[in-house]
């Protein structure tokens, strides 16, 4: 690897466009957002303006975001994301495990089949779920033939959680698969040989040794869930509002951009907290590193 000073021209030529783009169209916008989060609606002629903003009115927006109403929504967002993440883990782990132990020629096909839905547009997949879950949807139709239902499966927390799991589960399979694949199977054999049952082996050997993959997968799912907007919007209706929806509303309907900016940053702080947690756990675990 060369030292950049040996070839400054090449270095700057290569690094220039990318760095410029990120700074200009990522860092700067976020900086604007940050500044705006301290702003407020301007007072013109003694009246609160609808469209004009003042800057640096203080921490008002952040304080407002700690209001029980919004705190409640934030809390619920965390809860819903946590449940969705756990469900993803519970469904993705057996899949990843099974693919690892499948015959060699099946592995790439099975993996691709799991990942493929992930590449299909989020909107379309969520829309497909509407058709499945609504009162005249497929599930209720099927249940109707045996005389059950119809159940109100849409526009509630259940639908949102299911939607999130449905959308993000493939994303959890990949890091799990990577870790389980790299696990030396002789650890499992040793555990069995020493007298442990399959169940005990799983709990005491497999899970601890695949923990890094589990943590990575959890983070990869939890963070997008926290910030998700489309799924609760389409599947949750008015009953299942998440932070993402609140932010969207501030920038569109409610037109309170400073407040929206503040909440956005609260969301980013929550995201970074989760990442710090992951780094902390990763540095302390002794499993197979992904």
């Amino acid at each position: 690897m060369d030292n950049w000073k040996d070839n400054k021209n090449v270095f700057w030529t290569l690094a220039g466009p990318g760095t410029f783009w990120l700074v200009m169209f990522f860092v700067v916008p976020l900086a604007f957002l940050f500044i705006m989060s301290f702003g407020g609606k301007a007072i013109i002629n003694g009246e609160m303006s609808i469209t004009e903003y003042d800057y640096f009115t203080g921490f008002g927006n952040y304080l407002r975001s700690l209001d029980p109403l919004y705190l409640g929504i934030m809390w619920k967002t965390i809860w819903v994301s946590a449940i969705a993440t756990v469900l993803c883990l519970v469904t993705a782990y057996p899949i990843a495990f099974g693919i690892c132990f499948a015959p060699e020629r099946w592995k790439p096909i099975l993996l691709m089949l799991v990942v493929l839905p992930f590449w299909i547009n989020l909107l379309i997949r969520t829309y497909a779920l509407i058709a499945v879950f609504r009162t005249q949807g497929y599930v209720n139709l099927a249940l109707g033939t045996v005389g059950l239902g119809p159940y109100e499966m849409l526009y509630n927390n259940f639908a949102v959680i299911f939607g999130l799991v449905y959308v993000y589960m493939p994303f959890m399979v990949l890091p799990l698969y990577a870790t389980i694949e790299r696990l030396d199977k002789s650890f499992l054999e040793a555990s069995l040989d020493l007298g442990a049952s399959q169940y005990t082996t799983f709990l005491k050997v497999t899970v601890p040794l695949t923990m890094p993959g589990i943590v990575t997968g959890v983070i990869l799912v939890f963070i997008p869930c926290l910030g998700s907007f489309l799924t609760p919007d389409l599947l949750g209706g008015a009953n299942a509002v998440m932070i993402g929806n609140v932010i969207e509303r501030q920038f569109k309907a409610a037109n309170d951009w400073p407040f929206g900016a503040a909440i956005s940053f609260m969301l980013m702080f929550a995201t970074f907290a989760a990442l710090m947690l992951r780094a902390f756990i990763a540095s302390r675990s002794r499993g197979v590193d992904v």
Binding site: D2, L116, P117, L123, Y166, M169, A261
Partner: protein, 282 residues
């Protein structure tokens, strides 16, 4: 344990366990049923799309004739196309730079490159909305003729796509034997010639895979596009969103199926390109 083990299977032979096979089938079915029904019902004659009434391609013709939908689709494809080209070039350049050079603060820079992947999309979307408004770019660009009026969206897409390209190209470069580069220079080639004739051909599978990845990400994106597109410019996912809010209709199914097909084909090509790379070139 009382069950007779199958002759020839071992205790770690999880792949042959029945309960695992059943679980697999159930989960895979649950993953695909909504999508398959969506595609299937795009061929349905029933307007409310619930009961199967008959096979028809009407929905596709209707979607084709829906000028707003077509315009949205064209916009999406154009944006994806342009954004892909720019992302791939920029992303590859950063990848080469990271592969080749060490410098002070490299770790931080790499984390910085990873930010667009980690920050929630909605935060990025609103930040860009704010930026385009404040800088006046929103008004400026939107007033321009097609395709320049898509510039804001393209810029936004490039910003979150090129880090992914960097990751893909970089992982490809890891396998490059630097002695090839040295041999080229030893034989008299300049820096520039070496780059084009030796490094780029090796990078090619990574470039193509990265480009396809960028294309899919751009085509599929909803959140960032939703915030950065002005009132006049509509992309396909945004258009579908507004239709969906009004209810289920088979036309949406038809349009969605087309998008699915494009995405799946692009993904499969990208994955096929990743695999032969293992049979080592260079």
């Amino acid at each position: 344990m009382a069950t007779q083990p199958k002759p020839g299977s071992g205790p770690l032979d999880y792949g042959s366990r029945l309960w695992l096979k059943i679980l697999f089938i159930v989960i895979y079915i649950m993953l695909y049923v909504p999508i398959i029904t969506l595609i299937a019902f795009s061929f349905n004659t029933d307007k409310r799309g619930v009961v199967w009434r008959g096979f028809t391609l009407d929905n596709y013709t209707k979607a084709w004739n829906n000028s707003a939908l077509i315009e949205a689709m064209t916009n999406s494809l154009t944006i994806a196309f342009i954004a892909t080209i720019i992302s791939t070039i920029i992303g590859a350049m950063v990848a080469v730079m990271l592969w080749r050079f060490r410098f002070f603060g490299k770790g931080t820079y790499e984390a910085f490159m990873g930010l667009p992947i980690v920050i929630p999309e909605i935060c990025m979307g609103v930040a860009l909305l704010l930026f385009f408004n404040v800088s006046g770019m929103m008004n400026f660009v939107v007033a321009m003729p097609w395709p320049l009026n898509l510039a804001n969206i393209v810029i936004a897409h490039v910003a979150f796509c090129f880090p992914f390209v960097t990751i893909v190209v970089r992982s490809r470069l890891v396998g490059f034997n630097r002695q090839l580069e040295e041999a080229s220079k030893d034989l008299g080639a300049s820096e520039w010639q070496t780059f084009w004739k030796v490094i780029v051909p090796f990078m090619m599978p990574g470039l193509v895979a990265g480009a396809l990845l960028a294309f899919t990400l751009s085509l599929d994106d909803f959140v960032i596009t939703f915030f950065t597109s002005g009132p006049e410019t509509v992309t396909f996912p945004v258009k579908v969103y507004s239709l969906v809010r009004r209810g289920v209709s088979p036309e949406i199914n038809a349009a969605s199926t087309v998008l699915i097909v494009i995405t799946v084909v692009a993904t499969i090509i990208a994955m096929k390109l990743q695999a032969p790379e293992k049979s080592g070139k260079g």
